[in-house]
Amino acid sequence: MTQKIAVQVDDLTVAYNYKPVLWDIDLEIPEGVLMAIVGPNGAGKSTLIKSILGILNPIAGSVSIYGKSYEKQRSLVAYVPQKGSVDWDFPTTALDVVMMGTYGSLGWIKRPGQKEKKAALEALEKVGMLSFKSRQISQLSGGQQQRIFLARALVQNASIYFMDEPFQGVDATTEIAIINILKELRKAGKTVVVVHHDLQTVPEYFDWVTFLNVKKIATGPVKDIFNDDNLTKTYGINYKVSIQE
Protein backbone atom coordinates (compact mmCIF):
# COMPACT_ATOMS: atom_id res chain seq x y z
CA MET A 1 0.00 0.00 0.00
CA THR A 2 1.47 3.33 -0.96
CA GLN A 3 0.14 6.20 1.10
CA LYS A 4 0.36 9.83 0.09
CA ILE A 5 2.82 11.84 2.15
CA ALA A 6 1.09 14.73 3.93
CA VAL A 7 4.11 16.27 5.59
CA GLN A 8 7.71 15.83 4.58
CA VAL A 9 10.57 17.15 6.67
CA ASP A 10 14.10 17.03 5.22
CA ASP A 11 17.34 17.58 7.14
CA LEU A 12 15.69 20.02 9.52
CA THR A 13 17.97 21.64 12.09
CA VAL A 14 16.69 24.30 14.50
CA ALA A 15 18.77 26.18 17.03
CA TYR A 16 18.05 28.58 19.88
CA ASN A 17 21.01 30.83 20.49
CA TYR A 18 23.27 28.61 18.39
CA LYS A 19 22.45 25.51 20.40
CA PRO A 20 20.65 22.95 18.24
CA VAL A 21 17.36 21.76 19.70
CA LEU A 22 16.48 19.71 16.64
CA TRP A 23 19.23 18.04 14.73
CA ASP A 24 18.98 16.87 11.16
CA ILE A 25 15.42 15.60 11.30
CA ASP A 26 14.05 13.57 8.39
CA LEU A 27 10.40 12.75 8.79
CA GLU A 28 7.57 11.62 6.57
CA ILE A 29 4.03 11.79 7.91
CA PRO A 30 1.67 9.74 5.74
CA GLU A 31 -1.80 11.06 4.98
CA GLY A 32 -4.57 9.92 7.29
CA VAL A 33 -2.58 8.91 10.36
CA LEU A 34 -3.20 9.92 13.95
CA MET A 35 0.36 10.42 15.10
CA ALA A 36 1.88 11.07 18.52
CA ILE A 37 5.21 12.83 18.89
CA VAL A 38 6.79 11.61 22.12
CA GLY A 39 10.04 12.43 23.85
CA PRO A 40 11.37 13.84 27.11
CA ASN A 41 11.15 17.51 28.09
CA GLY A 42 13.41 19.63 25.92
CA ALA A 43 13.39 17.03 23.15
CA GLY A 44 12.16 19.64 20.66
CA LYS A 45 8.63 18.34 20.16
CA SER A 46 6.95 21.76 20.16
CA THR A 47 9.88 23.16 18.21
CA LEU A 48 9.34 20.57 15.48
CA ILE A 49 5.69 21.58 15.08
CA LYS A 50 6.49 25.29 15.17
CA SER A 51 9.18 24.84 12.53
CA ILE A 52 6.84 22.91 10.25
CA LEU A 53 4.34 25.78 10.59
CA GLY A 54 6.90 28.46 9.82
CA ILE A 55 6.62 30.02 13.29
CA LEU A 56 10.31 29.33 13.89
CA ASN A 57 13.02 29.64 11.30
CA PRO A 58 15.23 26.56 10.95
CA ILE A 59 18.93 27.08 10.32
CA ALA A 60 18.92 24.23 7.80
CA GLY A 61 16.55 21.91 6.03
CA SER A 62 13.11 22.17 4.49
CA VAL A 63 9.50 21.28 5.08
CA SER A 64 6.80 20.53 2.57
CA ILE A 65 3.08 20.05 2.93
CA TYR A 66 1.73 17.87 0.12
CA GLY A 67 4.82 18.65 -1.90
CA LYS A 68 4.70 22.43 -1.58
CA SER A 69 6.04 24.96 0.91
CA TYR A 70 3.96 25.76 3.99
CA GLU A 71 3.36 29.34 2.82
CA LYS A 72 1.48 28.00 -0.21
CA GLN A 73 -0.46 25.41 1.78
CA ARG A 74 -1.54 27.38 4.85
CA SER A 75 -5.20 26.72 4.21
CA LEU A 76 -4.61 22.96 4.52
CA VAL A 77 -3.15 23.22 8.00
CA ALA A 78 -4.66 23.95 11.43
CA TYR A 79 -2.68 24.51 14.61
CA VAL A 80 -3.55 24.18 18.29
CA PRO A 81 -0.81 25.82 20.38
CA GLN A 82 -0.16 24.88 24.01
CA LYS A 83 -2.95 26.17 26.17
CA GLY A 84 -0.45 27.93 28.42
CA SER A 85 0.98 29.95 25.54
CA VAL A 86 -1.81 32.53 25.62
CA ASP A 87 -3.21 34.95 28.17
CA TRP A 88 -6.67 33.65 29.12
CA ASP A 89 -7.49 36.98 30.77
CA PHE A 90 -7.63 38.54 27.31
CA PRO A 91 -10.95 40.39 26.95
CA THR A 92 -12.82 38.09 24.59
CA THR A 93 -15.45 35.34 24.50
CA ALA A 94 -15.32 31.64 23.63
CA LEU A 95 -17.12 32.26 20.34
CA ASP A 96 -14.70 35.01 19.40
CA VAL A 97 -11.68 32.77 19.99
CA VAL A 98 -13.19 30.08 17.76
CA MET A 99 -13.88 32.71 15.09
CA MET A 100 -10.14 33.38 14.98
CA GLY A 101 -9.83 30.05 13.19
CA THR A 102 -11.60 31.60 10.21
CA TYR A 103 -9.20 34.55 9.93
CA GLY A 104 -6.74 32.60 7.79
CA SER A 105 -9.21 31.96 4.99
CA LEU A 106 -10.34 35.61 5.14
CA GLY A 107 -6.86 37.04 4.64
CA TRP A 108 -5.80 40.55 5.61
CA ILE A 109 -8.32 43.31 6.40
CA LYS A 110 -11.49 41.39 5.46
CA ARG A 111 -13.74 40.84 8.47
CA PRO A 112 -15.60 37.72 9.57
CA GLY A 113 -19.33 37.75 8.77
CA GLN A 114 -22.37 35.53 9.24
CA LYS A 115 -20.83 32.60 7.38
CA GLU A 116 -17.81 32.55 9.68
CA LYS A 117 -20.00 32.91 12.76
CA LYS A 118 -22.12 29.95 11.67
CA ALA A 119 -19.04 27.81 11.14
CA ALA A 120 -17.72 28.79 14.58
CA LEU A 121 -21.03 27.90 16.26
CA GLU A 122 -21.01 24.50 14.56
CA ALA A 123 -17.47 23.85 15.77
CA LEU A 124 -18.47 24.85 19.31
CA GLU A 125 -21.35 22.39 19.13
CA LYS A 126 -19.00 19.61 17.99
CA VAL A 127 -16.82 20.03 21.07
CA GLY A 128 -19.85 20.34 23.34
CA MET A 129 -19.27 23.97 24.22
CA LEU A 130 -22.16 25.71 22.47
CA SER A 131 -23.80 26.78 25.73
CA PHE A 132 -20.57 28.54 26.72
CA LYS A 133 -20.29 30.64 23.57
CA SER A 134 -20.68 34.01 25.30
CA ARG A 135 -18.58 33.10 28.31
CA GLN A 136 -15.47 35.16 28.90
CA ILE A 137 -12.53 32.83 28.33
CA SER A 138 -11.01 33.29 31.80
CA GLN A 139 -14.26 31.94 33.24
CA LEU A 140 -13.72 28.57 31.56
CA SER A 141 -12.04 25.58 33.18
CA GLY A 142 -8.79 24.19 31.77
CA GLY A 143 -10.62 21.42 29.94
CA GLN A 144 -13.12 23.85 28.47
CA GLN A 145 -10.34 26.15 27.28
CA GLN A 146 -8.73 23.20 25.52
CA ARG A 147 -12.04 22.37 23.83
CA ILE A 148 -12.30 25.95 22.64
CA PHE A 149 -8.83 25.64 21.11
CA LEU A 150 -9.87 22.41 19.42
CA ALA A 151 -13.02 24.07 18.06
CA ARG A 152 -10.87 26.88 16.69
CA ALA A 153 -8.81 24.32 14.78
CA LEU A 154 -11.93 22.46 13.55
CA VAL A 155 -13.35 25.65 12.11
CA GLN A 156 -10.31 25.93 9.85
CA ASN A 157 -11.56 22.80 8.08
CA ALA A 158 -7.99 21.76 7.35
CA SER A 159 -6.46 18.55 6.04
CA ILE A 160 -3.66 18.40 8.60
CA TYR A 161 -3.99 19.23 12.30
CA PHE A 162 -1.04 19.97 14.56
CA MET A 163 -1.74 19.96 18.29
CA ASP A 164 0.69 20.84 21.03
CA GLU A 165 -0.16 18.87 24.19
CA PRO A 166 -3.94 19.03 23.91
CA PHE A 167 -4.34 16.78 26.94
CA GLN A 168 -2.33 18.86 29.35
CA GLY A 169 -4.29 19.89 32.41
CA VAL A 170 -7.64 18.53 31.23
CA ASP A 171 -9.93 16.17 33.10
CA ALA A 172 -10.60 12.59 31.99
CA THR A 173 -13.95 13.42 30.34
CA THR A 174 -12.41 16.14 28.21
CA GLU A 175 -9.50 13.88 27.28
CA ILE A 176 -11.93 11.24 25.99
CA ALA A 177 -14.03 13.86 24.20
CA ILE A 178 -10.94 15.26 22.49
CA ILE A 179 -9.51 11.90 21.45
CA ASN A 180 -12.89 10.90 20.01
CA ILE A 181 -12.93 14.02 17.88
CA LEU A 182 -9.36 13.33 16.74
CA LYS A 183 -10.32 9.77 15.80
CA GLU A 184 -13.28 11.15 13.84
CA LEU A 185 -10.92 13.45 11.99
CA ARG A 186 -8.72 10.50 11.05
CA LYS A 187 -11.79 8.60 9.89
CA ALA A 188 -12.57 11.54 7.61
CA GLY A 189 -9.13 11.11 6.04
CA LYS A 190 -7.41 13.96 7.88
CA THR A 191 -3.89 13.77 9.24
CA VAL A 192 -3.50 14.58 12.93
CA VAL A 193 -0.16 15.19 14.66
CA VAL A 194 -0.18 15.46 18.46
CA VAL A 195 2.62 16.28 20.89
CA HIS A 196 1.89 13.79 23.63
CA HIS A 197 3.21 13.13 27.12
CA ASP A 198 1.35 10.16 28.50
CA LEU A 199 3.14 7.09 27.15
CA GLN A 200 0.55 4.74 28.65
CA THR A 201 -2.17 5.94 26.30
CA VAL A 202 -0.14 5.94 23.08
CA PRO A 203 -1.22 2.47 21.86
CA GLU A 204 -4.85 3.20 22.71
CA TYR A 205 -5.08 6.66 21.11
CA PHE A 206 -2.70 6.65 18.17
CA ASP A 207 -1.85 4.51 15.17
CA TRP A 208 1.42 6.23 14.29
CA VAL A 209 4.24 7.47 16.50
CA THR A 210 7.46 9.46 16.26
CA PHE A 211 10.14 9.20 18.93
CA LEU A 212 12.09 12.40 19.26
CA ASN A 213 14.97 13.53 21.37
CA VAL A 214 16.80 16.33 19.56
CA LYS A 215 17.37 13.70 16.87
CA LYS A 216 14.65 11.55 15.44
CA ILE A 217 14.84 8.10 17.07
CA ALA A 218 12.13 6.30 15.12
CA THR A 219 8.88 6.86 13.27
CA GLY A 220 6.24 4.44 12.08
CA PRO A 221 3.11 2.47 13.00
CA VAL A 222 2.55 2.13 16.76
CA LYS A 223 2.15 -1.64 16.52
CA ASP A 224 5.56 -2.03 14.88
CA ILE A 225 7.78 0.45 16.68
CA PHE A 226 6.21 1.32 20.03
CA ASN A 227 8.49 -0.95 22.04
CA ASP A 228 10.90 -0.92 24.94
CA ASP A 229 13.88 -0.60 22.67
CA ASN A 230 12.73 2.73 21.18
CA LEU A 231 11.44 4.02 24.51
CA THR A 232 14.79 3.33 26.11
CA LYS A 233 16.64 4.99 23.24
CA THR A 234 14.42 8.06 23.56
CA TYR A 235 14.20 8.44 27.32
CA GLY A 236 17.57 7.00 28.23
CA ILE A 237 16.27 4.70 30.92
CA ASN A 238 14.91 1.22 30.76
CA TYR A 239 11.19 1.48 30.21
CA LYS A 240 10.42 -2.20 30.21
CA VAL A 241 9.43 -2.33 33.86
CA SER A 242 7.41 0.86 34.03
CA ILE A 243 5.24 0.10 31.03
CA GLN A 244 4.36 -3.41 32.13
CA GLU A 245 3.56 -2.47 35.70
Binding site: I55, R74, S85, F90, T92, M100, Y103, S141
Partner: protein, 386 residues
Amino acid sequence: MSNAQIEIQLIASIVAIACAIPGTFLVLRKMAMISDAISHSILPGIVIGFFITQDLNSPLLIILAAFSGVITVVLVEYIQKTGLVKEDTAIGLVFPVLFSIGVILIAKNANDVHLDVDAVLLGELAFAPFDRLLISGVDVGPKSLWIIGSILILTVTLVIAFFKELKVSTFDAGLSASLGFSPVVIHYGLMTVSSVTTVGAFDAVGAILVVALMIAPAASAYLLTTDLKRMLIYSICFGILSAISGYWLAHWLDASISGSITTMLGLLFLGIYLFAPNKGVIAVLYREKQQRTEVLLLTFLLHLKNHTEKRERHVNHLNEHINWQKVRSKTILDLAFKNNMILIENKIVSLTEKGDEFTSQAIDYIITNEDAQIEDMKDDFFLFRG
Protein backbone atom coordinates in the same frame (compact mmCIF):
# COMPACT_ATOMS: atom_id res chain seq x y z
CA MET B 1 -15.83 79.66 27.33
CA SER B 2 -13.36 81.46 25.13
CA ASN B 3 -12.16 80.12 21.82
CA ALA B 4 -8.76 79.30 23.29
CA GLN B 5 -10.37 77.28 26.08
CA ILE B 6 -12.42 75.27 23.61
CA GLU B 7 -9.35 74.69 21.47
CA ILE B 8 -7.28 73.48 24.41
CA GLN B 9 -9.96 71.00 25.47
CA LEU B 10 -10.34 69.86 21.88
CA ILE B 11 -6.60 69.25 21.52
CA ALA B 12 -6.43 67.46 24.87
CA SER B 13 -9.38 65.25 23.94
CA ILE B 14 -7.99 64.32 20.54
CA VAL B 15 -4.59 63.56 22.07
CA ALA B 16 -6.40 61.37 24.62
CA ILE B 17 -8.21 59.41 21.90
CA ALA B 18 -5.08 59.03 19.78
CA CYS B 19 -3.20 57.67 22.82
CA ALA B 20 -5.98 55.40 24.12
CA ILE B 21 -6.11 53.31 20.94
CA PRO B 22 -2.50 52.07 20.77
CA GLY B 23 -2.44 52.15 24.60
CA THR B 24 -5.16 49.49 24.78
CA PHE B 25 -3.04 47.08 22.75
CA LEU B 26 0.13 47.93 24.68
CA VAL B 27 -1.61 47.11 27.95
CA LEU B 28 -2.96 43.81 26.59
CA ARG B 29 0.49 42.91 25.27
CA LYS B 30 2.01 43.71 28.68
CA MET B 31 4.16 46.36 27.04
CA ALA B 32 3.13 49.39 29.07
CA MET B 33 6.73 50.22 29.93
CA ILE B 34 7.62 50.34 26.25
CA SER B 35 5.45 53.45 25.89
CA ASP B 36 7.51 55.09 28.61
CA ALA B 37 10.69 54.18 26.77
CA ILE B 38 9.38 55.45 23.44
CA SER B 39 8.14 58.72 24.91
CA HIS B 40 11.65 59.54 26.14
CA SER B 41 13.80 58.15 23.40
CA ILE B 42 12.05 60.03 20.60
CA LEU B 43 13.88 63.13 21.85
CA PRO B 44 17.08 62.69 19.79
CA GLY B 45 14.91 62.17 16.69
CA ILE B 46 13.08 65.41 17.35
CA VAL B 47 16.29 67.34 18.04
CA ILE B 48 18.06 66.09 14.91
CA GLY B 49 14.95 66.79 12.85
CA PHE B 50 14.86 70.29 14.27
CA PHE B 51 18.51 70.91 13.38
CA ILE B 52 17.83 69.87 9.81
CA THR B 53 14.59 71.79 9.29
CA GLN B 54 14.75 74.57 11.94
CA ASP B 55 10.99 74.08 12.27
CA LEU B 56 9.36 72.39 15.27
CA ASN B 57 6.27 71.50 13.25
CA SER B 58 7.98 69.91 10.28
CA PRO B 59 6.74 66.44 9.34
CA LEU B 60 10.40 65.36 9.17
CA LEU B 61 10.53 65.71 12.97
CA ILE B 62 7.68 63.27 13.32
CA ILE B 63 9.28 60.80 10.92
CA LEU B 64 12.70 60.95 12.59
CA ALA B 65 11.19 60.79 16.07
CA ALA B 66 9.03 57.83 15.16
CA PHE B 67 12.13 56.21 13.71
CA SER B 68 14.04 56.66 16.97
CA GLY B 69 11.01 55.22 18.80
CA VAL B 70 11.16 52.08 16.67
CA ILE B 71 14.95 51.90 17.14
CA THR B 72 14.32 51.87 20.91
CA VAL B 73 12.09 48.83 20.54
CA VAL B 74 14.63 47.09 18.30
CA LEU B 75 17.47 47.79 20.74
CA VAL B 76 15.45 46.62 23.75
CA GLU B 77 14.55 43.40 21.97
CA TYR B 78 18.11 42.85 20.78
CA ILE B 79 19.59 43.26 24.26
CA GLN B 80 16.89 41.07 25.73
CA LYS B 81 17.44 38.35 23.14
CA THR B 82 21.06 37.88 24.18
CA GLY B 83 19.62 36.48 27.41
CA LEU B 84 22.08 38.46 29.51
CA VAL B 85 19.49 40.84 30.98
CA LYS B 86 15.71 40.77 31.41
CA GLU B 87 13.28 42.92 29.44
CA ASP B 88 12.66 45.55 32.11
CA THR B 89 16.41 45.98 32.56
CA ALA B 90 16.86 46.30 28.81
CA ILE B 91 14.20 49.03 28.70
CA GLY B 92 15.86 50.81 31.62
CA LEU B 93 19.17 50.70 29.78
CA VAL B 94 18.07 51.88 26.36
CA PHE B 95 15.78 54.84 26.79
CA PRO B 96 17.80 56.93 29.26
CA VAL B 97 20.78 56.66 26.91
CA LEU B 98 18.79 57.83 23.90
CA PHE B 99 17.05 60.52 25.95
CA SER B 100 20.34 61.84 27.32
CA ILE B 101 21.77 62.05 23.79
CA GLY B 102 18.82 64.33 23.03
CA VAL B 103 19.42 66.37 26.19
CA ILE B 104 23.09 66.90 25.32
CA LEU B 105 22.26 67.83 21.72
CA ILE B 106 19.79 70.47 22.97
CA ALA B 107 22.23 71.86 25.54
CA LYS B 108 25.09 72.11 23.04
CA ASN B 109 23.22 73.53 20.08
CA ALA B 110 19.72 74.73 20.73
CA ASN B 111 19.81 76.83 23.88
CA ASP B 112 18.34 79.82 22.14
CA VAL B 113 15.23 78.20 20.66
CA HIS B 114 11.95 77.01 22.04
CA LEU B 115 13.06 73.44 22.61
CA ASP B 116 13.91 72.81 26.20
CA VAL B 117 13.82 69.72 28.37
CA ASP B 118 11.00 70.98 30.57
CA ALA B 119 8.77 71.50 27.58
CA VAL B 120 9.59 68.02 26.36
CA LEU B 121 8.77 66.36 29.65
CA LEU B 122 5.72 68.35 30.66
CA GLY B 123 4.51 70.03 27.50
CA GLU B 124 2.45 73.19 27.69
CA LEU B 125 -1.07 72.80 26.51
CA ALA B 126 -1.93 76.37 27.51
CA PHE B 127 0.29 77.76 24.74
CA ALA B 128 -1.00 75.42 22.03
CA PRO B 129 -3.71 77.81 20.73
CA PHE B 130 -1.12 80.56 20.10
CA ASP B 131 0.72 78.60 17.44
CA ARG B 132 -1.65 78.92 14.47
CA LEU B 133 -1.64 77.17 11.14
CA LEU B 134 -1.99 79.68 8.31
CA ILE B 135 -2.97 78.46 4.87
CA SER B 136 -2.40 81.25 2.31
CA GLY B 137 -2.84 83.78 5.08
CA VAL B 138 -6.06 82.30 6.50
CA ASP B 139 -6.08 81.10 10.11
CA VAL B 140 -7.40 77.51 10.14
CA GLY B 141 -6.74 76.71 13.81
CA PRO B 142 -3.88 75.70 16.10
CA LYS B 143 -1.06 73.76 14.45
CA SER B 144 -1.01 71.06 17.10
CA LEU B 145 -4.70 70.38 16.53
CA TRP B 146 -3.96 69.66 12.88
CA ILE B 147 -0.96 67.47 13.65
CA ILE B 148 -2.62 65.32 16.29
CA GLY B 149 -5.88 65.30 14.29
CA SER B 150 -4.10 63.81 11.28
CA ILE B 151 -2.39 61.24 13.48
CA LEU B 152 -5.74 60.31 15.00
CA ILE B 153 -7.31 59.79 11.59
CA LEU B 154 -4.37 57.56 10.62
CA THR B 155 -4.62 55.55 13.85
CA VAL B 156 -8.38 55.07 13.60
CA THR B 157 -8.10 53.98 9.96
CA LEU B 158 -5.40 51.45 10.83
CA VAL B 159 -7.18 50.03 13.86
CA ILE B 160 -10.41 49.59 11.90
CA ALA B 161 -8.63 47.99 8.95
CA PHE B 162 -6.41 45.67 11.01
CA PHE B 163 -8.59 45.08 14.06
CA LYS B 164 -8.81 41.34 13.51
CA GLU B 165 -5.06 41.02 12.89
CA LEU B 166 -4.25 43.06 16.01
CA LYS B 167 -6.61 40.95 18.06
CA VAL B 168 -5.34 37.54 16.95
CA SER B 169 -1.65 38.46 17.15
CA THR B 170 -2.11 39.98 20.60
CA PHE B 171 -4.04 37.00 21.93
CA ASP B 172 -2.14 34.18 20.25
CA ALA B 173 1.02 35.05 18.34
CA GLY B 174 1.62 31.40 17.42
CA LEU B 175 -1.76 31.00 15.75
CA SER B 176 -1.37 34.39 14.10
CA ALA B 177 1.93 33.30 12.55
CA SER B 178 0.54 29.97 11.39
CA LEU B 179 -2.41 31.75 9.73
CA GLY B 180 -0.04 34.02 7.83
CA PHE B 181 -0.49 37.23 9.84
CA SER B 182 3.11 37.89 10.75
CA PRO B 183 3.19 38.90 14.43
CA VAL B 184 6.49 40.68 13.76
CA VAL B 185 4.95 42.94 11.11
CA ILE B 186 1.96 43.71 13.34
CA HIS B 187 4.22 44.30 16.34
CA TYR B 188 6.36 46.85 14.50
CA GLY B 189 3.26 48.40 12.96
CA LEU B 190 1.89 48.99 16.44
CA MET B 191 5.27 50.29 17.64
CA THR B 192 5.40 52.73 14.72
CA VAL B 193 1.89 54.01 15.40
CA SER B 194 2.71 54.35 19.11
CA SER B 195 5.85 56.30 18.27
CA VAL B 196 4.09 58.61 15.82
CA THR B 197 1.28 59.23 18.30
CA THR B 198 3.77 59.96 21.06
CA VAL B 199 5.60 62.49 18.90
CA GLY B 200 2.38 64.16 17.84
CA ALA B 201 1.12 64.32 21.41
CA PHE B 202 4.23 65.16 23.35
CA ASP B 203 4.51 68.69 21.95
CA ALA B 204 1.08 69.45 23.40
CA VAL B 205 1.09 67.40 26.58
CA GLY B 206 4.68 66.33 27.25
CA ALA B 207 6.37 62.95 27.42
CA ILE B 208 5.13 61.95 30.88
CA LEU B 209 1.47 62.68 30.22
CA VAL B 210 1.65 60.73 26.96
CA VAL B 211 2.49 57.63 28.97
CA ALA B 212 -0.37 58.31 31.39
CA LEU B 213 -2.83 58.83 28.52
CA MET B 214 -1.76 55.58 26.86
CA ILE B 215 -1.79 53.35 29.93
CA ALA B 216 -4.28 54.66 32.52
CA PRO B 217 -7.46 54.71 30.37
CA ALA B 218 -6.70 51.24 28.99
CA ALA B 219 -5.88 49.83 32.42
CA SER B 220 -9.15 51.26 33.78
CA ALA B 221 -11.18 49.89 30.86
CA TYR B 222 -9.57 46.46 31.33
CA LEU B 223 -11.13 46.24 34.78
CA LEU B 224 -14.61 46.94 33.47
CA THR B 225 -15.14 44.82 30.40
CA THR B 226 -14.45 41.45 28.85
CA ASP B 227 -14.80 42.58 25.27
CA LEU B 228 -11.96 44.06 23.25
CA LYS B 229 -14.10 46.51 21.26
CA ARG B 230 -15.72 47.80 24.43
CA MET B 231 -12.34 48.06 26.06
CA LEU B 232 -11.23 50.35 23.21
CA ILE B 233 -14.38 52.46 23.48
CA TYR B 234 -14.15 52.73 27.29
CA SER B 235 -10.46 53.72 27.05
CA ILE B 236 -11.35 56.46 24.60
CA CYS B 237 -14.17 57.75 26.83
CA PHE B 238 -11.95 57.71 29.93
CA GLY B 239 -9.27 59.58 28.01
CA ILE B 240 -11.69 62.31 26.94
CA LEU B 241 -13.25 62.51 30.40
CA SER B 242 -9.87 62.97 32.07
CA ALA B 243 -8.74 65.48 29.45
CA ILE B 244 -11.74 67.74 29.93
CA SER B 245 -12.09 67.38 33.69
CA GLY B 246 -8.31 67.81 34.01
CA TYR B 247 -8.49 71.03 32.07
CA TRP B 248 -11.12 72.45 34.43
CA LEU B 249 -9.20 71.24 37.47
CA ALA B 250 -6.18 73.17 36.19
CA HIS B 251 -8.38 76.19 35.51
CA TRP B 252 -9.75 76.07 39.05
CA LEU B 253 -6.38 75.46 40.73
CA ASP B 254 -4.51 77.74 38.31
CA ALA B 255 -2.05 74.87 37.80
CA SER B 256 -0.42 72.95 34.95
CA ILE B 257 -2.97 71.46 32.56
CA SER B 258 -0.96 68.34 31.80
CA GLY B 259 -0.36 67.76 35.51
CA SER B 260 -4.06 68.12 36.24
CA ILE B 261 -5.08 65.74 33.45
CA THR B 262 -2.64 63.14 34.77
CA THR B 263 -4.05 63.59 38.27
CA MET B 264 -7.57 63.00 36.94
CA LEU B 265 -6.33 59.87 35.16
CA GLY B 266 -4.88 58.62 38.43
CA LEU B 267 -8.09 59.35 40.36
CA LEU B 268 -10.19 57.73 37.66
CA PHE B 269 -8.11 54.56 37.81
CA LEU B 270 -8.21 54.54 41.61
CA GLY B 271 -12.01 54.81 41.57
CA ILE B 272 -12.41 51.98 39.08
CA TYR B 273 -9.77 49.88 40.83
CA LEU B 274 -11.81 50.11 44.02
CA PHE B 275 -15.36 49.99 42.69
CA ALA B 276 -15.33 47.98 39.44
CA PRO B 277 -18.25 45.53 39.63
CA ASN B 278 -16.33 42.28 39.10
CA LYS B 279 -12.62 42.92 39.18
CA GLY B 280 -12.56 45.83 41.65
CA VAL B 281 -10.91 45.43 45.04
CA ILE B 282 -14.16 45.77 46.96
CA ALA B 283 -15.99 43.29 44.74
CA VAL B 284 -13.14 40.80 45.12
CA LEU B 285 -13.07 41.16 48.92
CA TYR B 286 -16.84 40.78 49.08
CA ARG B 287 -16.70 37.68 46.90
CA GLU B 288 -13.96 36.13 49.01
CA LYS B 289 -16.02 36.70 52.14
CA GLN B 290 -19.01 35.04 50.46
CA GLN B 291 -16.89 32.12 49.38
CA ARG B 292 -15.57 31.64 52.89
CA THR B 293 -19.12 31.58 54.20
CA GLU B 294 -20.18 29.08 51.59
CA VAL B 295 -17.31 26.72 52.31
CA LEU B 296 -18.41 26.82 55.93
CA LEU B 297 -22.00 26.18 54.88
CA LEU B 298 -20.91 23.17 52.91
CA THR B 299 -18.87 21.85 55.80
CA PHE B 300 -21.94 22.17 58.00
CA LEU B 301 -24.24 20.45 55.49
CA LEU B 302 -21.75 17.65 55.05
CA HIS B 303 -21.62 17.15 58.79
CA LEU B 304 -25.41 16.74 58.82
CA LYS B 305 -25.28 14.35 55.91
CA ASN B 306 -22.61 12.19 57.55
CA HIS B 307 -24.24 11.93 60.96
CA THR B 308 -27.57 10.29 61.53
CA GLU B 309 -27.23 10.24 65.31
CA LYS B 310 -29.26 12.94 66.99
CA ARG B 311 -26.67 14.19 69.45
CA GLU B 312 -24.48 15.26 66.52
CA ARG B 313 -27.32 17.36 65.13
CA HIS B 314 -28.68 19.15 68.17
CA VAL B 315 -28.86 22.92 67.68
CA ASN B 316 -27.17 23.66 71.00
CA HIS B 317 -24.32 21.25 70.51
CA LEU B 318 -23.55 21.85 66.87
CA ASN B 319 -20.78 24.33 67.58
CA GLU B 320 -19.01 21.87 69.86
CA HIS B 321 -19.10 19.16 67.26
CA ILE B 322 -17.82 21.25 64.39
CA ASN B 323 -15.55 23.21 66.71
CA TRP B 324 -16.86 26.64 65.73
CA GLN B 325 -17.58 29.72 67.75
CA LYS B 326 -21.21 30.49 68.58
CA VAL B 327 -21.53 33.48 66.26
CA ARG B 328 -20.21 31.60 63.28
CA SER B 329 -22.44 28.60 63.96
CA LYS B 330 -25.46 30.86 64.20
CA THR B 331 -24.67 32.67 60.92
CA ILE B 332 -24.24 29.43 59.04
CA LEU B 333 -27.32 27.87 60.58
CA ASP B 334 -29.38 30.92 59.56
CA LEU B 335 -27.97 30.85 56.05
CA ALA B 336 -28.80 27.18 55.59
CA PHE B 337 -32.27 27.71 57.02
CA LYS B 338 -32.93 30.73 54.82
CA ASN B 339 -32.02 28.68 51.73
CA ASN B 340 -34.41 25.86 52.74
CA MET B 341 -31.56 23.43 53.09
CA ILE B 342 -32.27 22.34 56.63
CA LEU B 343 -35.23 21.61 58.88
CA ILE B 344 -35.23 22.15 62.61
CA GLU B 345 -37.56 19.91 64.60
CA ASN B 346 -37.34 19.77 68.36
CA LYS B 347 -33.96 21.45 68.15
CA ILE B 348 -32.68 18.63 65.95
CA VAL B 349 -31.34 19.76 62.63
CA SER B 350 -31.76 17.65 59.51
CA LEU B 351 -31.19 18.19 55.80
CA THR B 352 -34.09 18.92 53.50
CA GLU B 353 -34.29 17.24 50.12
CA LYS B 354 -32.87 20.38 48.53
CA GLY B 355 -30.05 20.52 51.06
CA ASP B 356 -29.24 16.88 50.54
CA GLU B 357 -29.11 17.24 46.76
CA PHE B 358 -27.06 20.41 46.99
CA THR B 359 -24.52 18.73 49.25
CA SER B 360 -24.15 15.71 46.98
CA GLN B 361 -23.71 17.88 43.90
CA ALA B 362 -21.20 20.12 45.60
CA ILE B 363 -19.17 17.17 46.88
CA ASP B 364 -19.27 15.59 43.43
CA TYR B 365 -17.96 18.80 41.99
CA ILE B 366 -15.15 19.10 44.50
CA ILE B 367 -14.11 15.49 43.88
CA THR B 368 -14.40 15.37 40.08
CA ASN B 369 -13.87 19.06 39.37
CA GLU B 370 -16.27 18.72 36.45
CA ASP B 371 -18.19 21.84 35.67
CA ALA B 372 -21.26 20.20 34.18
CA GLN B 373 -22.39 19.08 37.66
CA ILE B 374 -22.88 22.56 38.98
CA GLU B 375 -24.05 24.59 35.98
CA ASP B 376 -27.47 25.19 37.54
CA MET B 377 -26.04 25.97 40.98
CA LYS B 378 -23.80 28.75 39.79
CA ASP B 379 -26.37 31.50 40.01
CA ASP B 380 -27.11 30.77 43.66
CA PHE B 381 -23.62 30.46 44.98
CA PHE B 382 -20.45 32.38 44.70
CA LEU B 383 -18.37 29.37 45.57
CA PHE B 384 -18.84 27.85 42.17
CA ARG B 385 -18.21 30.86 40.04
CA GLY B 386 -14.51 30.23 39.84
